[in-house]
């Protein structure tokens, strides 16, 4: 396999093409990367350097005081800081895992089975994508209140599990899985669930690794302050946004907070992306 890939890469790449695409990537990458570099630089700047005029892009006297400040600030809060971290990690892990499982479970029959109302269900779900959070904010609250889920992890986890976007994405990817693969498994006596876990899911691995990235990113940044009142159930983004609410005196700590909030999603992204390898969707098929 490896040898074949190398051959293909050689065939399709010319020196000019490589240079052009590399140059484009560098230019665009600079656009994308600069804000991150600035955020990191800012978090390392001492307070007097943050307010210097004209502003400097790079840090002159790097210090970890800002990060130290966060821990000092957070040690004064009502509940231990680790509690906020636990809440967000808990919500993110269960929400992401649940969403991945439930959405792909539903996407599989929508893509590969035939049953009455299939298209109706699919289009209802797509329409639900269109609603913005402002319009549904009050009804959403009422539904949560009716279910007695207010001030409970459930009010954040369950809506995340049944988000329509993941289903839509998984369905489109699963349609690309050849029917002959599934039929072959059926003839060999595999149950539907087994087909799902051993045939369909491995063939759409790039799709669900991508889905993990999106879902994790959403939940990691979830403040959830509409539904959660108890201090010991509040999320990390909420706690950290309180630091920046203090304004000018906390400018340094705010910059450090931004870096902390970005690091974890970026790590997850890199982990997921490096696991995506070429899958063998139709390579096992001889037509």
């Amino acid at each position: 396999m490896i040898i074949k890939h190398k051959k293909r890469a050689k065939q399709t790449h010319s020196l000019v093409g490589n240079t052009i695409s590399l140059a484009l990537l560098i230019i665009l990458g600079a656009f994308m990367g600069l804000p991150l570099v600035l955020a990191v630089c800012n978090s390392l700047k001492p307070l007097e350097e943050l307010f210097i005029f004209p502003p400097r892009f790079f840090v002159r006297n790097p210090t970890f005081k800002n990060f130290h400040d966060i821990f000092v600030l957070m040690s004064e809060s009502w509940v231990p800081f680790s509690r906020y971290i636990f809440n967000t990690v808990f919500i993110t892990l269960f929400g992401t895992a649940g969403h991945l499982f439930v959405a792909s479970l539903c996407a599989y029959p929508l893509a590969k089975h035939r049953f009455p109302g299939r298209n109706l269900i699919f289009w209802l779900i797509v329409t639900a994508l269109m609603f913005s959070s402002h319009v549904t904010a009050i009804p959403n609250y009422l539904v949560m209140a009716h279910l007695n889920w207010l001030d409970n992890y459930l009010s954040l986890i369950v809506p995340a599990i049944v988000k329509p976007m993941g289903l839509f994405l998984m369905k489109q990817f699963m349609e690309q899985v050849p029917d002959s693969l599934i039929e072959a498994a059926k003839i060999d006596g595999a149950s539907e669930f087994r087909i799902f876990t051993t045939i369909v899911m491995p063939s759409v691995k790039p799709a669900w690794l991508t889905l993990i990235i999106f879902c994790f990113q959403d939940l990691w940044n979830l403040q959830g302050s509409n539904y959660i009142y108890s201090e010991d159930l509040k999320t990390l983004p909420y706690a950290l946004s309180q630091i920046s609410a203090a304004g000018i005196s906390r400018a340094g700590a705010t910059a450090a907070v931004a870096v902390i909030m970005m690091i974890i999603p970026i790590t997850i992204f890199i982990l997921c992306q490096s696991n995506i390898i070429e899958t063998m969707v139709s390579s096992g098929i001889k037509e």
Binding site: K4, A9, T12, N18, S21, L22, L28, G29, F31, L34, N42, P54, P55, F57, L105, C106, P109, H113, R114, F115, R118, L124, M130, F131, H134, V135, T136, A137, L142, V143, V158, Q172, F173, E175, Q176, D179, E192, S203, K205, P206, Q217, N221, Q223, P237, L240, S241, S244, I248, A251, T254, A258, I266, F269, I270, Q273, I276, I277, E278, S282, S283
Partner: protein, 314 residues
């Protein structure tokens, strides 16, 4: 498949046919999602419709809905004929969408193709291009916009150019070169346009990338054996294989463009609902807006899905 029925007659009794069993298995798989979806999303939507036809008054015991005037259509009529800004903003949102969506799609498809090639530092390049998604979401955006360095200086420094929060950084850098002001303004607005497109295409790039990665290499091998060029490979293999995801991405981009927080009409709806506490009027505006999105989505979706290639049709 010839047999269309979900049931069949065996020895005088009705039994589930193969198709029927498959249908039941399918429904069983979809059930967890459907319960959640119909339990959580549908009640919200139904409630929102009923609000748009009523006047809501809040009392100590809860809220009371009374039917709005003109057969309940008062809010709709008000939004469309009396409100001076609503129609203009609606049109503007639609025009913005039509200019932005093709650019985002083309750009993200192009970037995904670049990033899918094998070169050193590919993982780094991918991560960098995904950064906007992280930078523009939730707390980080809030923090960036509350970043004092940016907010206190930008009105004075950058008056006349419309920078979004993050682009301020690039704007600062330009300001300290020796270019004349007009050149900076031009560059800034051009860059701002590019930037808003790049920023809006992080998710799409990833979706395309995942799509490109699930195309089997054996297809390319086979066609290269037959003597196809890279150009032919692209149009005959890559493009059809990725077409279902073009549909996904156009739907996603349209919705994203319509429901983004920076959208003028979304701000107006938010302000009507939470600022002026006119929930009925706000819901009516949202529903008019929603119907417009729905119609556009239906048209675009049906045009694209006609050209979508599925691996094997059933």
């Amino acid at each position: 498949m010839k047999n269309k029925g979900y049931f069949k007659r065996v020895h005088g009794k009705w039994r589930l046919s193969l198709l029927g069993r498959e249908a039941i298995a399918g429904l069983a798989f979809a059930l967890p999602f459907l319960i959640g979806f119909f339990g959580l999303f549908l009640p919200m939507i139904v409630k929102s419709v009923s609000y748009s036809f009523s006047n809501m008054t809040v009392e100590s015991t809860g809220y009371v809905l009374t039917r709005a005037a003109k057969n309940g259509f008062e809010h709709y009529i008000r939004a469309l004929t009396i409100d001076p800004d609503f129609n203009r903003m609606l049109l503007q949102a639609i025009i913005d969408m039509f200019t932005k969506v093709p650019l985002v799609l083309i750009f993200s498809f192009f970037m995904a193709n670049l990033l899918n090639q094998k070169f050193h530092g590919r993982a780094v390049a991918r991560s960098i291009l995904f950064l906007p998604v992280i930078l523009t979401s939730g707390v980080v955006l809030g923090l960036e916009s509350s970043d004092l360095l940016v907010t206190t200086l930008s009105p004075a420094e950058m008056s006349g150019t419309d920078f979004s929060t993050i682009i301020n950084v690039s704007g600062f850098l330009l300001k300290y070169t020796d270019l004349p002001d007009s050149a900076i303004t031009f560059l800034a607005s051009a860059v701002n346009g590019i930037y808003s497109i790049i920023i809006a295409s992080g998710v799409q790039i990833l979706i395309f990338l995942a799509g490109l990665q699930s195309i089997s290499p054996s297809l390319y091998e086979a066609s290269s054996m037959e003597g196809a060029t890279a150009w032919e490979n692209f149009w005959k293999i890559t493009f059809p294989m990725i077409s279902p995801l073009i549909l996904v991405n156009s739907v996603y981009t349209i919705i994203d463009s319509f429901t983004s927080e920076t959208n003028e009409i979304m701000k107006d709806i938010k302000n009507t609902i939470f600022g002026e506490v006119k929930y009925g009027l706000g819901s009516a505006m949202a529903w008019i807006y929603f119907i417009c999105i729905g119609v556009i989505l239906l048209i675009v979706g049906s045009i694209i899905s006609k050209h979508v290639f599925y691996n094997d049709e059933r």
